[in-house]
Symmetry: C2
Subunit: 477 residues, 2 copies
């Protein structure tokens, strides 16, 4: 045994233990990157452990799964929020991100991943173009687990000049190049414990049926998932009608294309009808909701509770920092819960225990990683987050007659309760700091790059004329 | 000049400067607990300052005003959430809080106030019975500014046995004793710079017209505010109909009683109709919304944006920790914004800049303290919060073409961005710690007390039979 954590409040999420699988005075033993023992008090012999961590006063959870993120955008945090939905991409985020270089993207990603690690995230649902670069330059150096989705689309750069009803012109060559990069990930990482490649056809309005068919073949051949933005709003709806005909929707078209099955991970889905969402669920499609992002960009509560009600495997993601906010995961789960309550006018919706399940085992299932992570069980990879229950923001906690640590972490916790984070048996966060990262240096580099990006983008940004320009000129920003 | 903060990004909220009154490379000079200079770069001579703080890389805001809090309940954090509204008080919180002693309340309050201070709050809208005890034992030792509202009601302890349509029996003697304590606060703190007493008739269903009239007389005589929970839900509505007649509501009855004027601070108001809320606004009533609390307890978004639209003075409060969560104020403002967006299906609702205004100058106006705090202006008391913009969760920030610090603090910040907090010219938080408080010791004492309270309450709590009992027995909590 290489590592043991003793005396903690284990929240294992192991169904066989009942409820959340809570184990008091719990011990987790780790060897070879795997969980080799789970028990209470003296049940587990830790005498041969190379290192023993005293977990008393700590809650030990499976590391969180932040199931859908575009971390590169962290570099332009604050660049796009509080604008009408239709302005968000074309008027605010677009002009700024176009000034980013690949190196800016890497630094932005590193910042976002560190932020998420410090909130207890161990598995990242990264979704970006050239994702292999982030795997090599961000995720592997930090030791984080990544479900690496390569973005595939056939849309060129010039679609800003089109009207909303004109279908984007497709560039099949671009799409094929994207797909080649996706295929290559599988060759490169086939034996990598920490990297799981996923195909990422960006959205149905951005890809042709022919290329989708190729993707589906690749996914079947490699037993891989297909991670796709589905029914994300009005722009997409108009595109689908223009391309597939009046009365067609993303869900109906995906069904016709034979893509509705348990290989598909559908993100967002707020533009689908309840009947369509039931159809996705019935087909075994997995779901990821991004509450802060979709509330911020669209003023909509994503249908997290609705999919949970269908028995769907549901995960939560922070999406991207300018939409709005950041990657603090407990805050995201809290937001998910409060938005569910107000959306359904029901204070019992998405209670603390269910939100924590969604953030761990739910996310693992949504990404197809449930055999590896998401619970604290013997045989799973050793991904853990340790929370200090004696922080002012979480305290006091009691174990009788209920474990208030569960609601306190969810509703009160915040990121600064995280003390240590372990991925595959290795510490990636220790004493509240990311291992191997000099935070001030990272922030300084990110700030320097952000200043250049915003400066270069200013002309385009002003020309795009979002309401943020007016607000800035008025001294509100 | 006793203290100067130089080189910071000042967000003064001073209307005369336009927008948020942003001053780059700003200096604030403080003397005698007051702001004596505000300027940019070399405009302010700080050579005679006893102490100069380098504010570069910091945002300097007016200290936040957490306008409505019941901090004693922080001791039983985690004891009441995720239950139906009707269970929340009688089935969950009530049985637990009844086991609290006055000393437990003081320790709970201390914990909650420290938590709020660490999120940049300088002014507390405390609302409790025997509030003078908290003023002496919590607020004055910590150096925080408090608008101290004494709870006044005529309801005895035994109302749990009544049906919802039976009017609570009133005990005028109890109400008079409460009122006497309120009057006494004015004598005691009339020359106290940090304490502003307020009358707190708890809610219209808990107090008689006769006693309300006495309160109104006292408030007029002392030029004081009346801070009242207004239209907070179904239980209150039934009580008002039983007492004032069918068709009567809290707002109509308050109007008949002559209480709708600018002396009244109305909290919650989610049970009022839009017409009634417009009537409150037209009468000059001030408003405080508690987004997390009301979302958590009732599944409702409080009408913060609606009152802002009426031009009302609006503040935000965290209410109490079990409802659900804690007192981290930037998180509360973020929650207010995201809930407003989803409630109105409008991503432009309650933008970052407006939320920060509500949390500072808005709250000050709502509590009637706008001549003293809420902005950074010469002549105001020196209440400031300094945020480190180089924290991972806020970075990167840029100043061109917009100050991303504004959205970044609001949407991404979180409590741990607070570096220092100053009240009346004195540091109450320094280097991220509450001055004069040994946090681990406070947490240990709170935990010991919470364990005793929950243990003593367990029998009543089980007998009350909320859904939390079932969840706990099922291993979910």
């Amino acid at each position: 045994m290489e590592l043991a954590v003793t005396g903690g409040l284990l929240v294992t999420m192991d169904d066989s233990r009942g409820g959340l699988g809570i184990v008091e005075d719990g011990t987790v033993g780790i060897g070879g990157g795997e969980i080799v023992a789970v028990g209470s008090g003296g049940d587990v012999d830790v005498s041969d452990a190379d290192r023993v961590i005293d977990g008393s006063g700590r809650a030990v959870l499976p590391g969180f799964v932040n199931a859908h993120m575009h971390t590169t955008h962290t570099l332009v945090r604050g660049g796009a929020q509080d604008v009408p939905e239709i302005e968000w991409m074309n008027g605010a985020l677009g002009p700024i991100t176009r000034a980013m270089t690949p190196e800016d993207e890497v630094v932005g990603s590193r910042l976002g991943v560190c932020e998420a690690l410090l909130s207890g995230v161990t598995t990242f649902g990264e979704y970006t173009s050239h994702v292999g670069r982030l795997v090599e330059e961000v995720y592997r150096p930090l030791g984080a687990r990544v479900a690496a989705t390569e973005t595939i689309n056939e849309v060129g750069e010039e679609r800003e000049d089109l009207g909303p009803h004109d279908p984007y012109p497709f560039d099949r060559g671009k799409g094929e190049a994207d797909l080649e990069r996706a295929h290559a990930l599988f060759e490169r990482y086939q034996s990598d414990q920490l990297v799981t490649p996923i195909y990422g056809p960006q959205a149905l309005d951005m890809i042709s049926p022919g290329l989708l068919e190729e993707i589906a073949e690749g996914a079947t051949e490699r037993d891989a998932s297909i991670h796709m933005h589905v029914a994300q709003g009005e722009r997409e709806r108009l595109q689908i009608e223009a391309r597939y005909g009046a009365g067609e929707s993303t869900v109906s078209a995906l069904a016709d294309l034979g893509l509705l099955d348990d290989r598909l991970i559908a993100v967002h889905c707020h533009g689908a009808t309840p009947d369509e969402r039931a159809r996705l669920a019935a087909a075994g499609v997995r779901y990821i909701g991004c509450p802060s992002s979709i509330a911020g960009i669209d003023g909509i509560t994503p249908p997290v509770s609705e999919f949970l009600g269908h028995g769907t495997d549901v995960g939560i993601g922070t999406d991207q920092a300018p939409g709005p906010g950041g990657h603090a995961f407990l805050r995201e789960l809290r937001t998910a819960s409060l938005l569910a309550k107000t959306d359904l006018s029901d204070p019992t919706a998405l209670p603390a225990w269910e939100a924590l399940r969604v953030g761990t085992v739910g996310g693992a299932r949504a990404l197809g990683l449930e055999d590896e992570v998401g619970t604290i069980e013997v045989g799973k990879r050793a991904d853990l987050a340790l929370f200090d229950l004696d922080r002012l923001s979480v305290a006091p906690t009691v174990d009788r007659p209920l474990h208030t640590a569960i609601p306190n972490l969810l509703y009160a916790g915040g990121g600064n309760a995280v003390e240590s984070v372990v991925v595959d048996g290795e510490f990636v966060v220790e004493d509240g700091s990311v291992v191997g990262v000099e935070e001030r240096g990272l922030v300084a580099e990110a700030t320097e790059r952000a200043e250049r990006v915003f400066a270069e983008a200013e002309g385009d940004w002003r020309a795009a004329g979002s309401s943020l320009v007016t607000a800035s000129d008025g001294g509100w920003l």
